[in-house]
Symmetry: D3
Amino acid sequence: MKILLLNPNMTTGMTDGMAEVARLAASPGTEIIPVTATRGFPYISSRAESQFAGTITLEIIADYQDQVDAVVVAAFGDPGLHAARELYDLPVTGLAEAAILTACMLGERFAIVTFTPDMIAWYALSVAAAGVQSRLSGFHAPERQSGSLGNLKVDMRAELTRLAQEAAAGGADCVILGGAPLAGLASEIAEEVPAVLIDPVACAVRQAETLALLAPDGASKGSYRRPPGKATTGLPAALAAQFEGDG
Amino acid sequence: MKILLLNPNMTTGMTDGMAEVARLAASPGTEIIPVTATRGFPYISSRAESQFAGTITLEIIADYQDQVDAVVVAAFGDPGLHAARELYDLPVTGLAEAAILTACMLGERFAIVTFTPDMIAWYALSVAAAGVQSRLSGFHAPERQSGSLGNLKVDMRAELTRLAQEAAAGGADCVILGGAPLAGLASEIAEEVPAVLIDPVACAVRQAETLALLAPDGASKGSYRRPPGKATTGLPAALAAQFEGDG
Amino acid sequence: MKILLLNPNMTTGMTDGMAEVARLAASPGTEIIPVTATRGFPYISSRAESQFAGTITLEIIADYQDQVDAVVVAAFGDPGLHAARELYDLPVTGLAEAAILTACMLGERFAIVTFTPDMIAWYALSVAAAGVQSRLSGFHAPERQSGSLGNLKVDMRAELTRLAQEAAAGGADCVILGGAPLAGLASEIAEEVPAVLIDPVACAVRQAETLALLAPDGASKGSYRRPPGKATTGLPAALAAQFEGDG
Amino acid sequence: MKILLLNPNMTTGMTDGMAEVARLAASPGTEIIPVTATRGFPYISSRAESQFAGTITLEIIADYQDQVDAVVVAAFGDPGLHAARELYDLPVTGLAEAAILTACMLGERFAIVTFTPDMIAWYALSVAAAGVQSRLSGFHAPERQSGSLGNLKVDMRAELTRLAQEAAAGGADCVILGGAPLAGLASEIAEEVPAVLIDPVACAVRQAETLALLAPDGASKGSYRRPPGKATTGLPAALAAQFEGDG
Amino acid sequence: MKILLLNPNMTTGMTDGMAEVARLAASPGTEIIPVTATRGFPYISSRAESQFAGTITLEIIADYQDQVDAVVVAAFGDPGLHAARELYDLPVTGLAEAAILTACMLGERFAIVTFTPDMIAWYALSVAAAGVQSRLSGFHAPERQSGSLGNLKVDMRAELTRLAQEAAAGGADCVILGGAPLAGLASEIAEEVPAVLIDPVACAVRQAETLALLAPDGASKGSYRRPPGKATTGLPAALAAQFEGDG
Amino acid sequence: MKILLLNPNMTTGMTDGMAEVARLAASPGTEIIPVTATRGFPYISSRAESQFAGTITLEIIADYQDQVDAVVVAAFGDPGLHAARELYDLPVTGLAEAAILTACMLGERFAIVTFTPDMIAWYALSVAAAGVQSRLSGFHAPERQSGSLGNLKVDMRAELTRLAQEAAAGGADCVILGGAPLAGLASEIAEEVPAVLIDPVACAVRQAETLALLAPDGASKGSYRRPPGKATTGLPAALAAQFEGDG
């Protein structure tokens, strides 16, 4: 099975870090195909950037859809997730969705810890989209990001560990470490936090495998059946072809 | 006051129809500046198309931001609304949001009537985004669209009137006629339906005026303060400049 | 257009303050007709007082209904709003409702700041009535009111500013200053608070204008159609006539 | 123990019917003191009428508060319930509230059957006030009332039985017969309906007894502590005294 | 009337304490029949223990069903409540359910105070089962239990009083003292706390009486009608007979 | 990896059918260990039976915990799921939970189709426990079960297919076939239904694998940490040992 690990951010180091976690979590025989956006932003951290990045998600899938069995949108916040799910006959999930739903099987309430408060309003949309607001105990973020984006797991380790402990004290049975730069941190700090630590990349890879096995066409029916083909103007060619073809 | 009536669809006839309704609803002294997308789709009718159209919304505002006092995203479903609200220091509303919130002052429960069932899943996102699901009595659509997109108000008038009556019988105090092609229909069929008919274009123009008066910078604080400037790659120039500039 | 600014409190100084804000917010050509209750309480601050004041609201509208195009119930908490909406063929809104729904277009989450904790339980009913509890970040009030009711904007300015800042820090994109005596304060402290400040009187006047334009009969259909005429005993004459007449 | 059965409607025949049911439900030693409004409406059936009737509720309690141990607001819809709870140091409940909360111990979901669709929007407020919307399976009413108000139990018995059966088929474990004129009907048709039939008068009397025993001052703390004394103008004397006295 | 006060815990001292409170709350003529589990746990304090204890509840009712008119499951958390309600033709309530629903008539929001944080996740299920999460202001517990289980009311009195005061300050109009060992404490500390104190045992006895009077068969219809008879293996004889008999 | 497929029903034919589906869904290298209850009921179909069966679940896990890596409670309705999750240091999921959360990645709204209306109230508890009521479009069941329990997939195939089609028409993107006897039917009728068909056994096996990989101790922290050891009386020996040992 081949899984597209689609990073809608442009930072390849981030993709590499996620790919490593993804390969550790994947089943034997699963191949992880990491792809990094070549347009957009080094790192998405707002609803506005996510709006644009969501179209990058759609473009990249257009190019890879025939080569993979499932897609992981590898940015917490899941830009373009629902649009991709509607447009392609492939299973698609995202870091936020997969982590949130997996956490629901490992505790009653989950918290989301991230590295800057700028993310919270955006990430909150993923909790709402999953429909599980009643199971969220809260968001926890430092007052501001410190250290470099490429080295957050080291630079902010102590701070993020403290936030995860705070989340546990606040009633979270599970703590999701949200944000692509944090891939792999969950297992590193698990011993220090009295909550189940959740790594979104690992969750997403496993959920993508499951969807590919159980529903090879993904969310392809009902309101997610492919929209009727329609003329387009000014779209990248592969994406235009996808929109123009009938479902 | 100048209000950008931003049609993220590419059909100028649709823009013309909406501009006519907008001018009737606007206060004396308000100038309506209608703009039609030159990229994208003739008519948006899915979450996937809305994802792409949302970036068109952002692009168009980049070009017009210095010339207007407020923006109306003139497609029911409001593609790019929240992203635009975050990215620009201007009030922004959309047909769906404005109609829904206005309806909340004209009845206890509102219904949304539209011309094809394809729209419902997409429109439902706007109700959820407003947070007023408890006030929605339901969606009503025909089994399929009939007639031509440019002439729906005539071709489907009887059908849509019947659906609005059905909505009223089902407990709706107000009926929103959702979908850009239906602009102006509310006043035409009002006498035939025992519910308050809501025209989204009229609502949106009035709400945009109100926002421009009361909050000239729009939603510019808290989680909607402008994201920090950030390098971009491959974006249209005006949009890139907006993302790259500090808020 | 004429808008009845109906203060169900008996304090004319409060009415004057609100009328001033109302005139600044109104469109050219709109006339504000301020009226102060001549029965009831100097200032309403409980559900019990609101129950009584709601009938005063109904009585006053009975007297003015033929002279105005829309009504603003000018007490935050909106005594009698829904009853008035049902009984009269006029658009009616209230300070709380209009502020809350307007805030929903200027941020994701709003807070309500007021000058005494006594108000909170009562004001909470308006948030619930609007159906937008999920968008409320919280109430903020001092431990107790200080200064004189007629001079609160001056006497409590520092305290209320601090509370608005606290609300912003707690996640509010918008802060509504609730309570008739605070009319006009929003613009005075806007620069000091990192949230969009919302003035309920300004919102209500603008929303009343919009309703009058778009739905001159107001909420007059469905569950808000006028109740059938019915005999009454012991009601003020104009109010009795209204209840006794058929809708 | 003495319980004030306060009918805010002016129809004494209705009071008599309710008093009979109340006496059957009351514990040995409980005295039912029926009182009928002498101002207002023969029968309340709208939010507007309920607004006015709520003040009648407050007035009547002012007169009887020293003679009784608890109060039942004996109109389904509970006009003035929360205001009375705040203003008086006595337990107060209402037909709707008591029936709804009692039903929650006799099934998972309850329906409300009434004799005219005019009541539904008003009654829905009581379900919302109790906070148990998730346990309501729905409202069921005939298209219109038939027969005379004083004889509904006979004139509409077949119709109401059919509606209760319909409610049961729709998933209701319990069916509340809402509306003062229906007092006593529950036991008469219980055998014909596969749901537990709930008589609001019986529930309210029993709940009032329980409150009087367990909390003789009623809801007298927190947000329901008596509002501070305040000058009043134009209120009936006993009610004025109550508002003017400190809690 | 006879009410089974069924303690699914094995500690008879606890049963004695509850029986004393129950007798004080009961109507004249009501006989309290206290029974203590002879299998299970000294004291239930987790969802896992509650799962097992719920079957003990079912077993005990099987033995007593012909001798009583109603059942109180006398452990806060209500193990087996809904199963018992379905299986037996008797009214059944529990300490948590009865306290929660009664509190809803004595304030807008209630808090639950208990003596160890271990209980919270379990007790939260009772709030959710009642459907009134919107009326809960929160749980309050010490960091850990202190003193002996048999003497908690004395050993932790100061601590629990402080927690109840904290709950009141946090917006609770009512405070429920949750946990069988706390029976009787509510009246002892009522004067020290500015909220209505709720004793679950007293509530449950009164509610059981009301259900027995109004619905002698209890929740016996709709989804609570007795399940069809079914073969069983390995169940205690009386319980087997109950499951095997037709409803 | 070894997964305990724990059928709390006593019917081995049902276990065999589920084991077959489980093996098809499992990853290479996963061993399915099917176990059938030897006490309890041939088939669980009520909340009362589920209460008892939940303790059977706990007992069986006590015997197998050292031999397996994860547990699937193989009855839709998940008897004992949350108790098992709390009591054992193993990942545990159930047919209902796993199907529901998986469906949330394959559509916006899911329906549950089952073979008798008796199941609905019980199954509804699983939707509530997952917290995703807003994503449920509804339950669909025939008026009554037909055919033999052991042969339902054949006997009721046409009826269940029709119900799944009805669910799709009612707005479900996914249809879960709930009930152990229906294992394997999803793939058989998938072509006939315009919705994604969900097989709970397949979902549960895959989710159990994922949990075992990502969180080998399961839900073992926060409110799901093992309860403190406690004396027990009258429990099966292995279960007693589990409760008595410290977590």
